[in-house]
């Protein structure tokens, strides 16, 4: 299969086969990261700009490592060091980037739709590293990759996502990706954190964690994003942890081999207990490792990295 897209701005428009193709491609790159010389020349001579208009540590690091392992030349700029702080519009920033003729732009931005805005105006490839509360496609891809490696499949699994669904781009991208590949998705949180009509997105909505987790093959906790919440939508961390937090007792109702995921960074003791996060069910660090492989696959596919023998 050939990957025809210029950009990866969202999971929503992807066909199931495209998602599977990215995951399959990532399998090969996982091996690269385990070699002694963790580098292939696939993107030699290509320039990738990492534009982070919003703070990020792990996603930016993950992309940067992925780019370097593919031998791309990488340039980073963040909001604090760029002219964005001086009031430059996104359009002007985009035009300036374009003038430097990069091959790809990875963008993280606080506004929903920012990645699409940039993708429409740039001739080069654009990868969404998170746009507001809209989507975070590479996170969903690495989550699916992790699930597939652990469970051998996506189809037919029951995946429960617990937390602030309404404000989470991770949840949105995962809902799209998982339902496209045939998983049964449950979302759970206080009603103030569930988007209106969420069931019309093809998921089942729960407000009781024990019910949502019962029989689940995968349980994913979302970060409580206080910075996005504005006025509080739950009374206190304490109550949240008690009523909606994931702990080993809640997980007793899940499938015997259920895995526990978290996109990070974690608020330990709030949405997930340390006991669970560091316990045998947790695949949280695998998610991080897989993130590099998945991002390598995305960059490689979008930039038409050439022969696939680098990965074999």
């Amino acid at each position: 299969m050939e990957f025809q897209r210029k950009d990866l701005v969202a999971i929503e428009p992807l066909a199931p086969e495209e998602i599977v193709h990215i995951l399959d491609t990532a399998e090969g790159f996982l091996e690269v990261s385990r070699r002694e010389v963790k580098k292939v020349p696939a993107l030699r001579g290509k320039t990738v700009v990492n534009g982070f208009f919003e703070p990020s540590t792990r996603t930016r690091l993950s992309f940067e490592i992925a780019e370097k392992r593919l031998s791309a030349d990488t340039v980073n700029f963040s909001a604090s060091t760029s002219s964005v702080k001086k009031g430059e519009t996104l359009l002007d920033t985009v035009r300036n980037i374009e003038a430097m003729v990069p091959d790809a732009v990875v963008i993280r931005h606080g506004a929903a739709g920012a990645a699409e805005f940039v993708a429409r105006r740039l001739g080069c490839s654009v990868i969404n590293a998170g746009d507001g509360r809209h989507e975070h496609p590479t996170q969903a891809l690495l989550d699916l990759f992790t699930i597939r490696r652990r469970k051998g499949r996506i189809e037919g699994l029951t995946v429960t996502i617990v937390g602030d669904i309404a404000n989470s781009r991770v949840a949105r991208s995962n809902i799209h990706a998982l339902t496209k590949l045939g998983a049964r998705v449950r979302v759970c949180g206080p009603p103030t954190m569930l988007p209106p009509q969420v069931e019309r997105m093809g998921v089942e909505a729960y407000t009781r964690v024990a019910e949502a987790v019962a029989g689940a093959d995968v349980v994913m906790a979302l970060r409580i994003q206080k910075e996005r919440l504005g006025r509080a939508v739950f009374p206190s961390d304490r109550e949240y942890a008690r009523v909606f937090g994931l702990n080993s007792r809640v997980l007793e109702g899940a499938a015997a081999d259920a895995i526990v995921m978290h996109p990070g960074p974690m608020n330990r003791g709030v949405e997930i207990t340390s006991e669970l996060a560091d316990g045998p069910r947790s695949v949280i660090l695998e998610q991080v490792e897989h993130g590099v492989a998945v991002r390598m696959a995305v960059l490689y596919l979008l930039l038409g990295g050439g022969r696939s023998e680098w990965t074999s």
Binding site: E12, T89, L90, L91, H109, A111, A112, G113, A114, E116, F117, G132, R133, H134, E135, A166, N167, R169, R172, P195, P196, Q197, V198, R200, M201, G230
Partner: protein
């Protein structure tokens, strides 16, 4: 006699007329509307195949002058109006400075006198600086020529201030126009709260943000007896509330905009800022309810909320884009779309663009009754055209209907017996210099 419009089909909802008629104009006024009028030596306008309507009136327009002339001004805005078939517009007060005092009102009227090609009715502010705190000098505003007051763009959040406005304005025969929005509930919202916002992850405004204030203002109108007009209604709940209030006999009117009976929230699924306005585009059930309210005459007027913005202001991230779309040059065609689709009777459609808005704000015109001003719009109901914002007379291009195929458009706009627009061309610098007929 100045001239006679012959062979056209007159639709004058105020008199219930929907029939072939000739229209005679004398001294800038309607002289007669009869099955056949002998023009004698007077010039004749051949209107065969055309509708002859009372001049269209748009009671919700942002002309942006003074202060934001880069978006629009009285000259460009009234030209856009005339090209859209409008003979009169009501100009909203959120200018810079705000039209909250007689000086600004007089400035707008002077600009209109010098460079306007349709009638301009200024609307003053309810509160000083639109701040929602203290009443503006509504008496002086009325004296200077304001036909109504509103804080449009902002709700009047204080129920007490709204009550005072309804009470106080009634002394001057001025209508209070309410922008209904519970800011606390709507806070930060950039689109309708519904399935589309669930997909996009944009902060969203529930229908209740509008409806809560609609209900509040209707109750205050009941309490005070003040004349209330509800601006840009967009939800099915608002339609129900307005219908209920009218059944109770409250002194209230309401308007909606073409985008609310034509487009749904899906128009923003591509993050298209040209479909971003406040209130936001709603769901299909709301669109259908607004259409139904037009059919039943529950909604009195179609008003565009013409809100021009410069292209670079709209070419930003969705959340950062200003609210508002333009509508003067598409309103008639988009309204007639309902007629052509069998969703609205043509007399009702014309009423919502003429008599309804005239009554809502107590304006002259809106009818072809003899003795009234000869404000007349000639419409080719069958003309097919595609909306191309680049061809607009407006300075702005932020139109959500770009590329839409429409049927029906104004071919002639006559204000006070003088032709200001004819077949794609503006014919005058202002109303005084306009000729009676195109030469």
């Amino acid at each position: 006699m100045d001239f006679v419009i012959r062979g056209g089909h007159v639709i004058d909802p105020a008199s219930g007329l929907d029939a072939p008629r000739d229209v005679a104009v004398a001294e800038g006024k309607i002289l007669a509307v009869e099955p056949s009028i002998d023009p004698g030596s007077a010039p004749v306008v051949d209107a065969s195949g055309l509708w002859v309507l009372p001049g269209l009136i748009d009671i919700h327009v942002h002309l942006r002058e003074p202060g934001q002339e880069y978006k629009e001004d009285v000259v460009s805005g009234t030209r856009a109006a005339a090209a859209g078939g409008f003979t009169a517009v009501a100009a909203m007060p959120n200018t810079r400075p705000v039209n909250d005092n007689a000086e600004v009102t007089r400035y707008i009227l002077e600009k209109a006198h010098r460079g306007g090609v349709c009638r301009v009715y200024p609307v003053g502010a309810i509160s000083k600086g639109l701040r929602g705190e203290d009443l503006a000098e509504i008496g002086e505003l009325a004296e200077a020529g304001c036909v109504a007051v509103t804080d449009d763009g902002h709700p009047v959040s204080s129920s007490l201030l709204m009550r005072r406005a309804l009470e106080y304005a009634s002394a001057f025969g001025v209508v209070v126009v309410s922008h209904c929005e519970d800011l606390d509930l709507a806070r930060g919202g950039a689109m309708n709260e519904g399935l589309a916002s669930a997909y996009l992850g944009l902060p969203a405004i529930p229908a209740e943000a509008e409806e809560i204030q609609v209900a509040r203002d209707l109750l205050l109108a009941r309490r005070t007896g003040g004349r209330l007009h509800l601006a840009h209604l967009s939800t099915r709940g608002s339609m129900k509330l307005l219908r209920y209030a009218k059944r109770m006999g409250l002194p209230v009117t309401g308007e909606t905009a073409p985008h609310y009976f034509t487009l749904t929230e899906d128009a923003v699924r591509s993050f298209d800022t040209h479909a971003k306005m406040n209130p936001p585009l709603r769901e299909i059930a709301d669109v259908e309810a607004v259409q139904k309210a037009l059919r039943r005459g529950v909604v009195d007027a179609v008003a565009t909320d013409h809100a021009p913005h410069a292209p670079d202001e709209k070419e930003v991230e969705f959340e950062a884009a200003p609210n508002g779309v333009i509508g003067l040059e598409t309103s008639l065609g988009v309204t007639l779309r309902l007629v052509h689709h069998g969703l609205l009777d043509r007399v009702r459609a014309v009423a919502a663009l003429t008599w309804g808005p005239a009554r809502a704000l107590g304006l002259p015109g809106g009818t072809l009754a003899p003795g009234g001003p000869a404000d007349i719009t000639l419409v080719d109901p069958e003309a097919r055209w595609t909306v191309d914002p680049a061809a607009f007379f407006s300075k702005a291009r932020n139109c959500p209907f770009a590329g839409m195929d429409l049927r029906g458009r104004a071919v002639g706009t006559i204000v006070g017996g003088r032709t200001v627009y004819w077949n794609g061309r503006i014919l005058a610098e202002n109303l005084e210099t306009a000729e009676r007929l195109p030469t």
